[in-house]
């Protein structure tokens, strides 16, 4: 029954569609040098749907949905303002404490959630990974993108808060996207390593909360980076999130020092981690369906 229809039509139609017909070559993994980034671009719609799923599910499962996004950093800001600000009297580079903390908490919350989601993303999607093919890189990308909506809401609150406290928001605010991208790439770069490692060793997911906690202490979230002794600044600058948070405060308020030389260290650090992560992830990707 099949050959009847397949016979004559194909003879004529095949050569002409041949150019558009995808040709897939399946081979054993060839080692480290196999980045297929163009394929990720082909699957951009799937990336969109994964982000869309994460966002939908997150808001559906909570009772007050969007409100949480605002409440969480607001409450942390309250705690920080009372303990670090009013009681410990840490310097805030001349900014009102709420603005000082909130400007750090919004990018930090985005980074911390993205990194945690990214670490879990391969394991959490194992039922899909073992049943259908798509470039696995789509998953960590989706994980760091799905926090962007929350971030935007936080950003709106942050700007409102700045205006309420009488901060004169200047043109430097246009540089916020740059710092956001840096935060995204940091979460992605580290997340590529941790998500692949988590597929190999499930302990990684348990270690991540501690790493995030230590990382927060090593970033100027609860204090100003001006507290760090000058001779250690270069080392401190290697932490990309230090640059991101300083950058956020500076871009929003115009206060504090514009992040200059330390951004150079931060961005090169991110580049190294990201490129390494891409290769490591691709390396694990070829066997990930056998492992999860």
């Amino acid at each position: 029954m099949v050959t009847l229809t397949a016979g004559p039509t194909n003879e004529t139609s095949l050569p002409e569609i041949a150019a558009s017909v995808p040709r897939i070559r399946i081979e054993p993994p060839r080692g480290w040098l196999e980045l297929r980034l163009h394929e990720v671009w082909q699957y951009r719609e799937l990336l969109y749907f994964f982000v869309w799923r994460d966002v939908k599910v997150r808001y559906k499962q909570t009772v007050i949905g969007v409100l949480w996004v605002v409440l969480q950093p607001l409450m942390t800001m309250g705690v920080f303002t009372i303990f670090f600000g009013r009681l410990a009297k840490l310097p805030s580079d001349g900014l009102p404490y709420p603005v000082f903390y909130f400007a750090a908490l919004v990018p930090w919350a985005y980074f911390a959630t993205s990194l945690a989601n990214c670490t879990n993303v391969v394991v959490a999607n194992q039922h899909v990974i073992t049943k259908v093919y798509f470039p696995r890189l789509v998953l960590p990308l989706a994980a760091v993108c799905s926090g962007l909506l929350d971030f935007m809401i936080g950003l709106a609150v942050m700007i409102t808060l700045a205006l309420v406290f009488g901060i004169h928001v200047t043109a430097t605010v246009m540089l916020l996207p740059f710092f956001l991208i840096l935060a995204l790439l940091t979460a992605l770069g580290v997340g590529l390593w941790t998500s692949a490692l988590n597929a190999l060793y499930r302990d990684v997911a348990s270690i991540i909360p501690f790493i995030i906690q230590f990382w927060m202490l090593a970033s100027p979230v609860a204090y100003a980076s001006s507290l760090v002794p000058v001779r250690w600044r270069w080392l401190y600058g290697l932490n990309p999130m230090a640059g991101v948070i300083d950058g956020f405060r500076w871009a929003l308020t115009g206060h504090g020092q514009p992040p200059g030389a330390q951004m150079l260290g931060s961005t090169s650090m991110v580049a190294v981690v990201l490129v390494g992560g891409l290769f490591f992830f691709q390396r694990i990707e070829s066997t990930v369906a056998d492992r999860v």
């Binding site: 897939i24 399946i26 081979e27 799923r53 939908k56 597929a199 499930r202 990684v204 056998d290």
Partner: protein, 423 residues
């Protein structure tokens, strides 16, 4: 002739034994390293097995290729390699055309999301573009017969509705090459038939399909070629009827007898020890077991303790682990020695399915002293195919019951309208 769209040469897949289960914790890796730091540098000595070994095949455009073989023969591994879910260890394959694979019903479904949302999500994961889904959305909902519930979260769906929607999405993929694993094993019979019909449609449109199935009847009806895998290798390939028959005649699916020659290896204890369990089809040698074949099951064991009240129970399960029935032999005091119990399962009783038997030996009609799971296994297939139905009749059993059909009264009206229609 049509051209080859799939070509595979020497495909092999090696797994480390237990790799899937022992995904390893960091602690294991660290303790291993601590115990033998040098071992980490040396090439690890691991037990490996080949799920697939040196498989070559060619599928032409419009072919419907069936894959058969018992569990663990490498069918799914082959499908997973061809659909790029996992990479081969050796060999290569080349595929020309848009590939979609259905290894599961409802890939990517999320319980919290509505039917509408899941249609988009699953469709996208299976490889449809958003525009394609937009276009086919109404058709998908109609096929699934769930239009009233399309905005209800699927976690509130009945399993039937869930499967229908999931398959409806899958059925509207428009691949040039489709890989299908045993997904038709779910759902009710009527829906299975609809799906098989849809697959028939797809293949009639000149698409290429590779599918794994245990439904021998469907395989023979739908496939143009069948490949039989055993132990990761191609045992036989070619005409569906011939390959399926050869497959069923060898004990490929079945383990019709378990015999223990030496007492040390046999299951048992200080009271009893198994000698053999056999399934004896009461049909001509070489004939497969059909729904009409009576079966004799024979249990033989040593009894070590004289004058013990012993009996044997058997539990017959199908592959979905549904217990079809349990049955026990008579209770009696048995002397020490070799004891045999035989039981007959009549023909026209079991449905077409794969079965396995769990057994236990009971002492004093109360205490189980030996349990042995899946001692034997066998497959029952359809007898002759009746009418146009190539699915399986539903039900755990399929007894031949006595039906009486009578005409109580004839109606002139019905007769005259029927007459009108024919003229």
């Amino acid at each position: 002739m049509s051209t080859a769209v799939i070509r595979a040469e020497g495909l092999g897949k090696r797994y480390r034994r237990g790799m899937a289960e022992t995904r390893g914790t960091l602690r294991d890796a660290l303790t291993n390293f601590a115990r033998a730091p040098l071992a980490a540098l040396r090439r690890p000595k691991q037990e490996v097995f080949w799920a697939l070994k040196d498989v070559s095949l060619e599928v032409r455009e419009g072919d419907v290729l069936g894959l058969i073989g018992r569990n663990g023969a490498g069918k799914t591994t082959l499908l997973k390699i061809l659909s790029r879910i996992t990479r081969p260890t050796t060999g290569w394959a080349e595929i020309r055309g848009r590939v979609r694979s259905l290894l599961e019903v409802g890939t990517g479904f999320h319980g919290e999301l509505s039917g509408r949302e899941n249609t988009y999500l699953s469709g996208s994961i299976l490889g449809m573009s958003k525009r394609e889904i937009d276009r086919k959305f109404d058709e998908i909902v109609a096929f699934a017969e769930i239009d009233k519930f399309i905005d209800t979260p699927v976690k509130h769906y009945s399993s039937g509705m869930y499967v229908r929607l999931a398959f409806a999405v899958a059925a509207h993929l428009e691949p040039e090459i489709l890989f299908v694993d045993e997904v038709l094993a779910v759902g009710d019979a009527a829906f299975q038939k609809k799906c098989l019909g849809k697959m028939g449609d797809v293949s009639r449109q000149g698409r290429t399909i590779v599918f794994v199935s245990h439904n021998m009847t469907a395989l023979q009806r739908l496939c143009t070629r069948v490949v039989w895998l055993n132990g990761g290798k191609v045992t036989d390939a070619g005409d569906p009827r011939k390959v399926v028959n050869r497959y069923l005649q060898t004990n490929a699916v079945a383990n019709l007898e378990s015999v223990w020659e030496d007492n040390l290896g046999a299951p048992g204890n200080e009271r009893v020890r198994l000698r053999s369990v056999r399934v004896l089809p009461q049909s001509d040698p070489g004939e497969p077991i059909t729904v009409h074949t009576p079966l004799r099951i024979e249990f033989t064991y040593f009894n070590y303790v004289p004058d013990t009240m012993l009996n044997v129970s058997m539990i017959l399960n199908n592959l979905e682990e549904v217990c079809v029935f349990a049955s026990a032999s008579d209770f009696a005091h048995r002397p020490a020695g070799l004891i045999r119990h035989t039981v007959e399962i009549p023909g026209n009783f079991l449905n077409a399915d794969s079965y396995y038997i769990n057994m236990l030996i009971v002492k004093d009609a109360s205490t189980g002293i030996l349990f042995q799971n899946s001692v034997v296994a066998f497959e029952v297939i359809e007898g002759e195919v009746v009418g146009n139905w190539y699915g399986r009749l539903p039900g755990a059993v399929r007894p031949q019951l006595k039906w009486v059909s009578q005409v109580i009264e004839t109606s002139d009206l019905a007769a005259s309208t029927a007459g009108d229609q024919t003229t």
